[in-house]
Symmetry: C2
Subunit: 345 residues, 2 copies
DNA sequence: CAGCTTTGAACAAACGATTGTTCAAAAGAA
DNA sequence: TTCTTTTGAACAATCGTTTGTTCAAAGCTG
């Protein structure tokens, strides 16, 4: 028995097929399928077209449509790293929001530094209607990168003085919350592992840390702060520098630096949380993988993505959405790395 | 002084612009710019066209091109999760290889389970010429999902009996390597935290574990193996089950289960690596964040992505590339979680 | 110098949609 | 009954490329 030669791979069904089968003109079919309101169509005709399209499983060719309309219903998201819980979840949020609004998301991942060319390529080749951009680069670098953008864009997780719409997390409030938690546990000597010097988020967290201290009636002591950056090594380095100050608790700006800090504490023979508590900002699965499991303040990173996407799409549709306030932190996830301050001061 | 009203946003320069400026027909310009060989063009004319295109910064509109040629020079990659070092680095590899071959990569991330619809949408709408797919779903599910694919595809990190091209890592060899390392340190009671029961990779690793044992002259003891799956909780659960067997070393199938296991060991008061060694498969930054830093066997995940992309693109170009052998593991990264077997048996 | 090749490039028809415009038939007005 | 409106849909031009075909001029051949 011979097998058919793999049925003519269902030669993509086009609008012309639908129109022909329904016995109408393509223009009519197009209008009905897109739900265009400016043109009246007899109910009966409309139904016929819809039914045929359904039966034939018609799917518009986005290339043809995009060519004609100069819109792709696709927004791009440019992130410096994929395996970073913050960006991964922002992507998820953006994807969901975009889908809800009838857009697709084109994820573009580039090494930091190459952001500029990516933006240029994406926006010059009509691939996307707008861009969501997250960047770890300096203000000046980012600013020039963005000049290449030929499409509207929204910044994520950072702000660029005098420019663009952006959606950020309220890291300051998050840090404040973390300090409050520590203070409530009786800690007075709370250290801070800060992020990159000069960074927007780093500054926010630092200020939140000071806010928290003040709210708890604790004097700010600059010798309890060290810059750790965003690597485990940085966390280790900073924690080592802070050890002589004998803090009873540490607020790390990120999960990664918290991990580095904990390594140093273990090596120093300190017990967590009996001798010293550790808390990190942002929540991700890795927090539960550390030992002890890290207490964190959850940040609405997914929401950040969805808000950014919504904002962008709104402005693509001609609205001029207002800037949005920093997104407040989520819950404090209490795991095992924080506990009451040790007794003997 | 009045500022110009943002120069007519450099109305996208088209091929027609280039042709007109160079004083030739569009067809000629097109052929020259695409380097088509079938048509002779005077050197002088060619240069002129090239120069004009350069000056005008002409960039072909991929929509128009795609519409005409029915090819997009884009391949899609479907992954179940973004924040997973394995997939993230496979994406990076695929992206690099694709770029090298003149293709772009469309990253599509979907919740497991939605793979089918993603594949369907991507391949039915002419967005991609081919697909790279990674899936965590069962064979049967994946198989039906793939029936929706209207374009060629290559599987990553798994094999599907009787189907498709796929690129996998040699996990078996990796597990063997890990056991050899442990055996060389004098360990005889080596436990194994296996992956999901029935999973392809899980089986491979398990067999590699047995291979390694045999090579070291150690008898296989089924009571030293527990299924941990791919979560920290699974790792904890399995490690607890294995504790009574008093292993002196543990081979975890993944970084995540290794982390779970270490948590349990800490809680049990065991010192790592003095009392018990732990080694995990795959390497990623998180390995260095654990305490103690985890010894791992590096796997060529990035290479997996680039090989898969290359394979796919080759077959898109009409070649029928041969299946490729499992990619051998990379180096064993010795950190602090492994050490000599404890003295007293 | 007439006829045949080669060269080098222009012509023109798609690709699959969208959308401004035109138009016949039906309905309503005078 | 004739003229004007309204309805419902067909016509046709485009979007920016690619590519099969045609064709004039130049170069050869004998």
């Amino acid at each position: 028995m011979m097998k058919a030669k793999a049925a003519p791979p269902s030669a993509r069904v086009t609008l012309a097929d639908v129109a022909r089968t329904a016995g109408v003109d393509m223009s009519t079919a197009s209008r009905v399928l897109r739900g265009e309101a400016t043109q009246r169509v007899r109910e009966e005709t409309r139904d016929r077209i819809l039914k045929v399209a359904e039966e034939l499983q018609y799917l518009a060719n986005p290339l043809a449509r995009g060519l004609r309309t100069a819109r792709t219903s696709t927004i791009g998201i440019v992130v410096p790293q994929l395996d970073n819980p913050v960006f991964a979840s922002a992507i998820r949020g953006a994807e969901l929001a975009a889908a809800r609004l009838g857009y697709s998301l084109l994820i573009s991942h580039r090494e930091p530094g190459a952001t500029g060319t990516t933006i240029a390529k994406l926006s010059q080749t009509n691939r996307v209607d707008g861009l969501l951009v997250a960047s770890l680069d300096d203000d000046e670098v980012l600013r020039t990168d963005l000049t290449a953008a030929r499409v509207p864009y929204v910044l994520m997780n950072r702000v660029l003085p005098g420019a663009a719409l952006s959606v950020v997390l309220d890291s300051r409030a998050a840090a404040r919350l973390a300090v409050a938690h520590l203070a409530a546990l009786g800690h007075r000597r709370i250290a801070h592992l800060a992020g990159r010097e000069g960074g927007f988020n780093a500054k926010e967290r630092w200020e939140g840390y000071r806010d928290g201290l003040k709210a708890a009636g604790i004097a700010y002591d600059a010798s309890l702060v060290a810059v750790a950056g965003y690597t485990a090594e940085g966390g280790m380095w900073a924690m080592r520098a802070l050890l002589p100050q004998r803090p009873t608790a540490v607020l790390a700006a990120t999960l990664v630096s918290a991990a580095g800090a904990m390594t140093v504490l273990h090596e120093a023979g300190l017990r967590i949380p009996e001798d010293i508590s550790v808390i990190g900002l942002h929540d991700a699965p890795v927090a539960g993988m550390l030992y002890p499991a890290l207490t964190t303040v959850m940040m609405p990173t997914e929401e950040m993505g969805s808000v950014a996407a919504t904002l962008l799409i709104r402005s693509l549709n001609g609205e001029s959405p207002a800037a949005v306030a920093p997104l407040p932190p989520g819950a404090l996830i209490s795991r095992n790395s924080t506990g009451p301050a040790p007794h003997g001061r």
